[in-house]
């Protein structure tokens, strides 16, 4: 047991520029080089990738969702099958969330992305009641009622067995007033203490707990929440809650929060995965990120491309391979990409697979997008190591057209 305890560690290898840092996040299932991206294996799997494909795309760490797994197949079943790492065949570092995000997304009618694509409509509200004790909701699987308390979330996450787990919080939406945000934050703090207490009561060294900073877009609330997280014995920090209505507000909230948060713990930014957002987060000291974006867009034909590979100037960080322009395109998604998809397949072929609804299209695009994100994080780590992070960020911020023809085409689209 003490052997297991020693297996968790977070070491900062190098610091700067600004708060950007290079780290090693050690878990019993392996070490994560940070900054790192955590991929969402929602129901204990990526929808269209095997764990071998995840590994081949240089993935370091994945997360699964407590909300989905508590309903199906249930934590007891996962535990009986050896815990998430064994169950999934992944065997590497894993994180679970608390279940709160999905429950509250459902409750406010903003169905969580992963659920939206599946079987629920926006108007179907399954959150029945939130009170001091916890959240009561109805299962989307069989209609049964469940009560998720902070203690229950920790017990479920213990059963699931991920290395990194998080406290239950209310995922406060953006469109509520400051008073609600404050009340919600304070309740989340009390839930965090109950989560911590439950965690410590049964701690066998196999898992580590993250606290979550709340406070929405309000600097004084963020300050209070940072103070709460700093003052309590969490292994890691997560930045959660509403990050604002636009990117600039998100960057401001992240900058302010990170300026006050303790520096020695690994720190995760919840649910953010845009390329520019990653650069911004890293600059302010974020160590890990997660987002369904890279795999969700794959299911709609979206392939991530570097700024200089974007034929479509639509302000997006991806191209849509369903577009007719790719019908007979003999190039890979990116000619400067070493992933299994770009090594073997053309845009034209993937376009054909999308048009004929052949599901391996999603595998090929997801495989590229996962490799892309891991490659980006690798570039970021290398840049920090070589004091080139500011330059890398600039390189990735600008649109670098391949040639003048492309530039003209882009102009004709935007004008």
């Amino acid at each position: 047991m003490s052997q297991l305890k020693q297996k968790f560690n977070f070491t900062i290898i190098k610091q700067g520029p600004a708060a950007a840092r290079l780290g090693l996040l050690q878990t019993p299932h392996g070490t994560v080089k940070t900054p790192a991206f955590i991929f969402c294996a929602t129901r204990a799997a990526m929808k269209s990738l095997t764990t071998e494909q995840l590994r081949a795309a240089n993935t370091q760490i994945i997360l699964s969702n407590t909300y989905h797994l508590m309903l199906q197949p249930g934590p007891a079943s996962v535990q009986a099958q050896g815990g998430l790492q064994k169950f999934t065949g992944w065997r590497g570092p894993m994180l679970t969330d608390s279940g709160g995000f999905q429950i509250f997304s459902l409750g406010s009618g903003n169905v969580a992305d992963e659920i939206k694509g599946r079987r629920l409509l926006g108007q179907e509200k399954t959150l029945l009641k939130i009170d001091e004790n916890g959240a009561r909701f109805r299962s989307y699987v069989d209609g049964r009622e469940y009560l998720l308390t902070p203690e229950e979330s920790i017990r479920i996450q213990r059963g699931l067995g991920a290395d990194l787990i998080v406290v239950l919080d209310e995922c406060t939406p953006y469109h509520v007033d400051k008073m609600y945000t404050k009340d919600s934050m304070e309740r989340s703090h009390r839930w965090a203490l109950r989560s911590l207490q439950e965690y410590l009561a049964q701690d066998n060294g196999a898992q580590k707990l993250y606290g979550i900073v709340q406070g929405g877009v309000y600097p004084d609330l963020r300050q209070q929440s940072v103070a709460f997280v700093n003052d309590n014995e969490f292994f890691g920090n997560a930045v959660g809650g509403s990050l604002g209505a636009d990117k600039q507000q998100m960057y401001d909230v992240v900058a302010l929060t990170m300026s006050m948060l303790n520096k020695e713990r690994p720190t995760h930014l919840l649910g953010i995965g845009g390329i520019q957002d990653l650069f911004n987060g890293v600059l302010h000291g974020i160590d890990t990120f997660d987002c369904v974006h890279p795999t969700r867009i794959a299911r709609h034909g979206g392939a991530l491309v570097k700024p200089w590979n974007r034929d479509e100037n639509l302000g997006r960080e991806h191209i849509n391979l369903r577009n007719g322009q790719y019908k007979q395109d003999l190039e890979p998604i990116e000619s400067d990409c070493a992933c299994a998809t770009c090594t073997n397949y053309t845009r034209g072929y993937i376009h054909h697979l999308l048009k004929t609804e052949t599901s391996v299209a999603f595998t090929l695009i997801a495989q590229h997008n996962v490799f892309f994100m891991n490659d980006l994080m690798h570039r970021i780590r290398t840049a920090i190591e070589q004091d080139q992070f500011v330059e890398l960020r600039e390189q990735w911020a600008c649109q670098k057209p391949k040639n003048e023809m492309v530039m003209e085409a882009e102009l004709s689209v935007t004008n």
Copy 2:
């Protein structure tokens, strides 16, 4: 060009028992060790496997369907993208069918398996007219009318660029009388001659043509059709048409046909892929098989298992991983299987993926089923080489319960 021509060859390495034989089928894209199974990459792809996964599962050769590809993306598009081997990234030996099977399946209301699962209902008949010239049908993609003649089928297959191509025939259904079967066979012979003529007129050595034996279940018609195929300059033979209403009739038709057919050409049995059927076909000298079965059952949770690994005694050659009995099964699909799925995943995990509609389940099962079929063909080749084929066939024919408990459970199911 003459260099390409030399690249096609069929050599029989070893003969016996009976008509069973070990062969090498050489094509410009590689050599196929026969007996071999040809997997269906219907729309230029397997639905849930990448070509890397196909290769890792020891696949030697795949086929694509002319009917689907002529509609989408069209032979000109595939040709402009380098032909099927380059387009798909497969680069190995490939076969295309003539398009006839799907057109006539649609026509008779027996929608072809691959189509049935997709968007057409049985009653939707898209075959408009068959006459001496060819078959007129309506595209399921955009409703456009197409005319498929023997010449057009060859031209389309030339555009697609597979190594092995086949003549256009009418896929005569079982439930027609002998007169119709005879008339249809004779027209198919005339179409075969037109196919051959078109093929020879433009032959550049890059493809080889297979003739097809028709004649339904009627020995005299089979005899006439064999004589026709024997007498004409086809590179390979295919056994097609109706093979009867049950397995015994199929075995009789195959036995009779093969007893009369020339022995020096590679010979393919169209659309057959049951394990016992493969053993029977090999015994009568069949060199290659194709069937959607291994990948189609994967999409319904069906995993092929060796006779001694069948927990379910339902007279099937697979188990259904959707069944509740696998919910917490910690064993792989087969404990004596070396495929990527059995090496890394349990039945319980795949059951969970099926229950939560996570599409990677189909990838994992298909990956096993493809490996299974290739492994079976490898065992068959090894057995022929080592004069153990009869023993292997016996071993695979019987149900070998793992232990008495399983036997009792099976008895209680069947009684």
